[in-house]
């Protein structure tokens, strides 16, 4: 209880430190599949000539200024390539930042929202669609499918009737990437996704917040559960996300990252699990 109160107080008094890596221009000509971690659940995915950005947080504070990043944004939004898709997993302030979308609205082709999510979007310049569970949207050869996860979909606490949340699968040029968004561990959802989608090259999985576990378990995976999800999905590789960016729990610094690294070593997963630092880029599949 004391730790929870301490974490709540800390939310407002966080000092943002510079990111450990800076992303210049992140396009990679040598990559079939490359991923850059911009922090929290913001991943820039490059599949050949297509660019997808997940849950963009490109500002230092969210939620009306209530919550600040611990680690700064590692890229100038003007350096982002033209984005074929922005994927929003759910409506919480650490996933849907209107300020962040405003910074990139003229370089986004289309935003994909979970069903019912459009009501949380202001009138941006880009096209936006909401996607039903298991629905696949096709755009210039790229397929984007909303897949089931287990989370909560409201934004303002009282809008509890909203269930606007989803995971995503992106397919292009024979490459398949899974994006969990936030989710509790529900093996049935992950196995159903594997059954319907088939082979997954890369899973981007949230691994935190962990504590207080009795509360978080219903809405967030911890590293142990994320590895179970990785197995359920049958993905070739995994990159973790949603840790060490905001104060959103009573986790110790780097606790989720260190636990995942320990488990990956113990399970002898080798380079199948790649842990990035904020601002770091990985070429997952070279050309």
């Amino acid at each position: 209880m004391r730790a929870t109160l301490f974490a709540l107080v800390c939310v407002a008094c966080v000092e943002t430190v510079p990111p450990p890596h800076r992303l210049g221009r992140p396009e990679r000509s040598d990559a079939h599949l490359a991923v850059s971690w911009i922090g929290h659940a913001t991943m820039l995915i490059q599949i050949d000539d297509r660019f997808v950005l997940t849950d963009p947080i490109l500002v230092d504070s969210i939620g009306g200024g209530v919550s600040r990043r611990k680690v700064g944004v590692p890229i100038d939004p003007r350096d982002l390539p033209p984005l074929d898709a922005v994927l929003i997993s759910h409506m919480h302030f650490d996933h849907l930042s209107l300020d962040s979308l405003g910074k990139i609205e003229h370089r986004v082709h289309r935003a994909y929202m979970p069903q019912g999510g459009l009501v949380y979007l202001s009138n941006m310049a880009f096209d936006a669609v909401d996607v039903r569970r298991w629905e696949t949207m096709e755009d210039r050869g790229m397929q984007i499918t909303a897949v089931p996860v287990d989370h909560v979909g409201n934004r303002y606490q009282l809008d509890t009737w909203m269930h606007s949340f989803t995971g995503w699968v992106v397919r292009y040029h024979g490459v398949t990437v899974y994006v969990s968004g936030d989710t509790a561990y529900t093996g049935a959802d992950f196995r159903a996704t594997r059954e319907r989608i088939g082979h997954i090259d890369l899973a981007l999985l949230a691994i935190a917040p962990i504590h207080p576990r009795n509360f978080m378990k219903a809405v967030h995976m911890d590293p142990d559960e994320a590895l179970a999800a990785f197995a359920d999905l049958g993905a070739d590789r995994m990159i973790p996300m949603h840790f060490d960016t905001f104060v959103d729990s009573t986790d110790k610094p780097h606790e989720a990252r260190d636990r995942l690294a320990f488990l990956a070593r113990e399970k002898k997963l080798g380079d199948r699990v790649r842990i990035l630092e904020i601002g770091q880029q990985a070429v997952v599949l070279p050309k």
């Binding site: 009306g64 200024g65 209530v66 209107l98 300020d99 405003g102 459009l118 009501v119 949380y120 979007l121 202001s122 009138n123 941006m124 936006a128 303002y156 009282l158 809008d159």
Partner: protein, 145 residues
């Protein structure tokens, strides 16, 4: 709808003595010009925070209870215009409005204020020169939907 039953506290000044009051806020009709364009911009009574805060014109109806040496029920109705200032209005928005105040006396009514945190909290000023009990009121607006 139930959330709109939460009243906002206010103080009234300019009359014979300072008055304390409670004010309710109903939205019979709202047109949003900040909401994503594929959605209907019209709302009645239940208005999502962003729908109002991102830019809107609103027909408002506010029953109000003022108490100083005497007590009085009044009601204001008119038009509010809300404009986003920061974070598409979720962080900060400004509202101006005008209408009619009626009760024991009838008067023109002028309104203005700012709201923060998705419109949940706001500081609003109303001026109805014909209301002798308290022509000017300052409300701490609490608004959930």
């Amino acid at each position: 709808m139930l959330a709109q039953g939460v009243p906002s506290p206010e103080v009234g000044v300019g009359g014979v003595s300072p008055a304390a009051g409670l004010r309710w806020q109903l939205t019979p009709l709202l047109y949003s010009f900040g909401l994503y364009r594929k959605l209907s911009p019209w709302r009645t009574f239940v208005v999502e925070p962003l729908t109002r805060q991102s830019g809107s014109l609103e027909l408002f109806f506010s029953p109000e209870f003022l108490s100083a040496r005497t007590s009085e029920w009044i009601a204001r109705t008119g038009i509010h215009a809300t404009f986003p200032l920061l974070e598409r209005g979720e962080k900060l928005a400004i509202t101006i409005g005008a209408g009619v105040c009626f009760g024991a006396e009838t008067s023109a009514d002028f309104e203005g204020g700012v709201s923060i945190l998705f419109g949940t909290f706001g500081l609003f000023f109303s001026y109805a020169p014909g209301v002798t009990l308290a022509p000017a009121t300052l409300s701490l607006r609490v608004r959930l939907f």
